[in-house]
Symmetry: C2
Subunit: 255 residues, 2 copies
């Protein structure tokens, strides 16, 4: 069972799995629109927080029950997550939280190394003073989360770190690349939650600052270099070898 699984693994915040997963959705009034989108967001957050362990089965009825919607709506949300690569959908079997292989993780970062310099190049041409201000606010927010401790802070920290890259994509003004980055950031967060070995963010944060400074100066080449290093650092903090040896046991345990 979904509830039991997450509860047993993370007793600290186990006031009830239902509340854990759906905590962030305030269905109060306006959300008469597209509940499946809200559910997608909630599940997405739960996955990249690792509150839902890779391999966990997400049954349609269960998800539907958790959010008080029919299987139809739950199914739509799961389908969307399937497109993003955060869940794997097997016909007649159901949806499972993705368990990206080390190889896939490398491909994700290789893709980012390809795309993000392009985003920087576009962003440096279009970024405004207002944007910069917005970025600085965002980075302060990020810093705030880093100083806090506890699981929910770490969660906010990963999210904030990803948001920096998403804002960059937004400034670049290319909606297609923005969508790609959306997917890549989501998958990266999952991979970091899976294979990360430390608090990457303290170093990540200062790198974000450096990138922003370079952008402000209009030095796109420097910003690109910094971005590549940043991605390298994130990937270097991952532990992508070990699992290779445990592939068998791993598959046995939770695939």
């Amino acid at each position: 069972m979904l509830a039991i699984c997450t509860r047993s693994r993370y007793k600290a915040q186990a006031v009830g799995c239902v509340m854990n997963i759906s905590e962030n959705i305030t269905f109060p009034e306006a959300s008469q629109e597209d509940r499946s989108l809200a559910i997608r967001e909630a599940l997405r957050n739960a996955i990249i927080d690792r509150r839902l362990a890779p391999g966990t089965k997400l049954s349609e009825s269960e998800v539907g029950a958790l959010f008080s919607v029919s299987r139809t709506v739950a199914r739509a949300a799961l389908q969307m997550l399937g497109f993003e690569g955060l869940v794997r959908i097997e016909r007649n079997r159901g949806a499972f939280v993705s368990n990206p292989s080390p190889d896939e993780a490398r491909q994700i970062f290789a893709s980012r190394r390809l795309i993000e310099p392009g985003i920087i190049a576009a962003a440096v041409e279009r970024i405004t003073a207002a944007d910069i201000k917005q970025f600085r606010r965002q980075l302060e927010e990020e810093q705030r989360h880093i100083n806090e401790r506890g699981p929910s802070a770490r969660r906010a920290e990963i999210k904030a770190s990803g948001d920096f890259h998403l804002m960059l994509a937004s400034v670049a003004g290319n909606v297609i690349l923005q969508k790609f980055m959306d997917e890549l950031v989501g998958r990266s967060s999952l991979v970091i939650a899976l294979y990360g070995r430390s608090g990457i963010s303290s170093c990540g944060h200062s790198e974000h600052l450096a990138i922003l400074d370079a952008l402000e100066k209009g030095d796109g080449a420097q910003a690109s270099r910094l971005m590549l290093h940043h991605i390298d650092h994130i990937e270097a903090d991952l532990d992508l070898q070990l699992k290779q040896g445990f592939a068998l046991k791993d598959a046995l345990a939770l695939t």
Copy 2:
């Protein structure tokens, strides 16, 4: 009505719109699996062939009726196309064939200019003699379609041209980039059908050959250069200005 609309615009091949759109799906035996995928493919083909004009409404019931399935599975297919950007979905209004703006078209090609050199770089490291052989076969196929005339040949030609880029992505061995290219090729095909002014392919074909030759020699830098030129040429063949003046009328007419 969907049928009437396409029939009136393309009388030449109007043996009946139903057959036109669903012609390629042979539901005979194996397709007990995921009919929505088959429908997605059929609609995708119809869209990039321009048998379905941009702005055309794709009603769930109508699509369902055409393929003899319920709205549920038709809806799933439309949702998938929405993710790919080939249709635009508006809440409580329905799904419409995308009408990408010139600006969006430029963003699509900008994305390709970013990603495809990366794919080349990865492919040149991994391509095998067998792959090369496969590519040559594919290019012969492409040539064959170019020599033929008629609407269905032009369709096969656009598809074959896109397949070259998809094969390249496949050889590169990065499933994420491969997925991105899938989307980009689909959207490019739509844009070419929309804004293309001539038979791009005759020149495109020789460029494909040149790229392959460079790859065979292991000259990734040269292959990348050729690829960028190739993309430039495709984009240069488009007529992205005119519509700007007609923006008002355009929005009025079929957005």
